[in-house]
Symmetry: C2
Subunit: 193 residues, 2 copies
C-alpha cells in the first residue's frame, strides 16, 4: 500500500498493511501509530469512532482499490487472464512477506464481534468484486445467471486459496486454483461461443 499523503491516509494505509499481516483483532491503535509514524493522539482526532471506525474505513479503502484494479484489468484482458493476474498478485504478496500478508478484506470478514461495521463493509467489497467480474463475463456472452455464479465462485476460490496457502506456507493452492479458474472460465465461454 502506498505511503505518503495526509496523516489520515497514512494511518489508513498502515491499518490495511497490519490487518493483512495479523488480522483486525490483533492490530492495536499503538501498532497503527507506530507503523504510520503518525503523532500519538491523532487516532481519535482522525477516527473519533475508534478502532471500529478505522477498521471500517481501511476495509472500504482496500475493497475499492481491488474493485478498481479488477475493473481496469478486465478492460484489457480476457476474464480468465484477469483472474490469473489477481491470483498472481496475492501469490507474490505471500512470497514477498514470507507468508505473512493475506487479504485485508478477508481479515475484516472474519474479525470478532466488535467489528460489525468492518465486516459489513467486507461483505460489500466481495459483492462489488463479484459484480465487476460478472459484468466482464457477461460482456463475453455469458448469461447474467451463469456470469454471477462463476464470478462469486472466482472470488470465493481466490480468497480461500490465499488462506490455505498462508496456513500451508506454500503457494501451491494458488497455483492450482489459478489453473482451475482459467479452465472453468474458458469452458463456460466456449459453451456460448
Amino acid at each position: 500500500m502506498k505511503q505518503g499523503g495526509t496523516t489520515r491516509d497514512r494511518m489508513l494505509a498502515s491499518a490495511v498493511t497490519l490487518f493483512r499481516e495479523r488480522g483486525v483483532d490483533s492490530t492495536s491503535f499503538a501498532d497503527v501509530i507506530t507503523h504510520s509514524q503518525a503523532p500519538r493522539g491523532s487516532i481519535y482526532h482522525h477516527f473519533p469512532g475508534g478502532k471500529a471506525q478505522l477498521a471500517e474505513e481501511a476495509t472500504r479503502m482496500a475493497g475499492e482499490l481491488m474493485s478498481a484494479t479488477i475493473a481496469a484489468n478486465l478492460e484489457q484482458r480476457e476474464p480468465g487472464e484477469t483472474l490469473l493476474t489477481i491470483v498472481d498478485g496475492f501469490r507474490r504478496q505471500l512470497l514477498d512477506s514470507d507468508f505473512g500478508a493475506s487479504c485485508p478484506v478477508a481479515a475484516a470478514a472474519l474479525a470478532g464481534g466488535d467489528f460489525d461495521a468492518a465486516r459489513t463493509v467486507a461483505g460489500g467489497a466481495f459483492t462489488s468484486w463479484e459484480t465487476v467480474i460478472a459484468a466482464g463475463l457477461e460482456r463475453r456472452g455469458l448469461t447474467p445467471d451463469r456470469a454471477a455464479s462463476l464470478a462469486t465462485t472466482a472470488v470465493a476460490t481466490i480468497e480461500g486459496a490465499i488462506m490455505v496457502a498462508k496456513a500451508q506456507r506454500d503457494v501451491q493452492a494458488l497455483d492450482r486454483v489459478g489453473a482451475e479458474l482459467v479452465r472453468w472460465v474458458h469452458a463456460a465461454l466456449a459453451e456460448v461461443a
Copy 2:
C-alpha cells in the same frame, strides 16, 4: 460440537465453538472457562502451553473431525454429492448461528502472530482434507494430478465461500459454489468415463 466428556475435552470443544464464532485472537481463556463451565485454573493445568497450546489442539481436533467426516461421506456418495453435503453443513451452521459461526480451522489459519503452531496445524488440516477428497476422485478414475488440483480447489472454494457468506450475511455464495463444484466434478469425471 458435542459437550460432555472430560473437563479437558469440554474445554477443547468450547474453544472450537468460540474460535468459530469470534476467531482465535478474540477468544480469551476466561471465555473458554465460562463456556465450558470448567473450574477456573484448569486451563493451565490442562494446557500448560497456554492459549497457544489450546488453539493448536482445538484446531487439530476440528481438522481431524472434518477429515473423518469427509472420508466417511466419500465412501457412501459420489464426490460431487460429498462436496455438496459439506457446503450444506456450513450453510446450515451459518443460518442457525445468525451468521456468527464459520470454520474454526479458517480462524486458526488467519490468526495473529502468537499462534504459529495453530496456523501450522490449520495448514495440515487443509492438506488432509485435500488428500481425502483427491483420493475419492482418484477412485472414480481421475489422474492423481487432476484429482489433486480439483481437491485443493474444492477446499479453497468452500472455505472462501463460508467467509464471503458470513460477511454478506447471505448464503448465496455457498449455494453458488455448491452448484459450480458439482458441475466441475461431473465434467472432470465425464472426461474419464
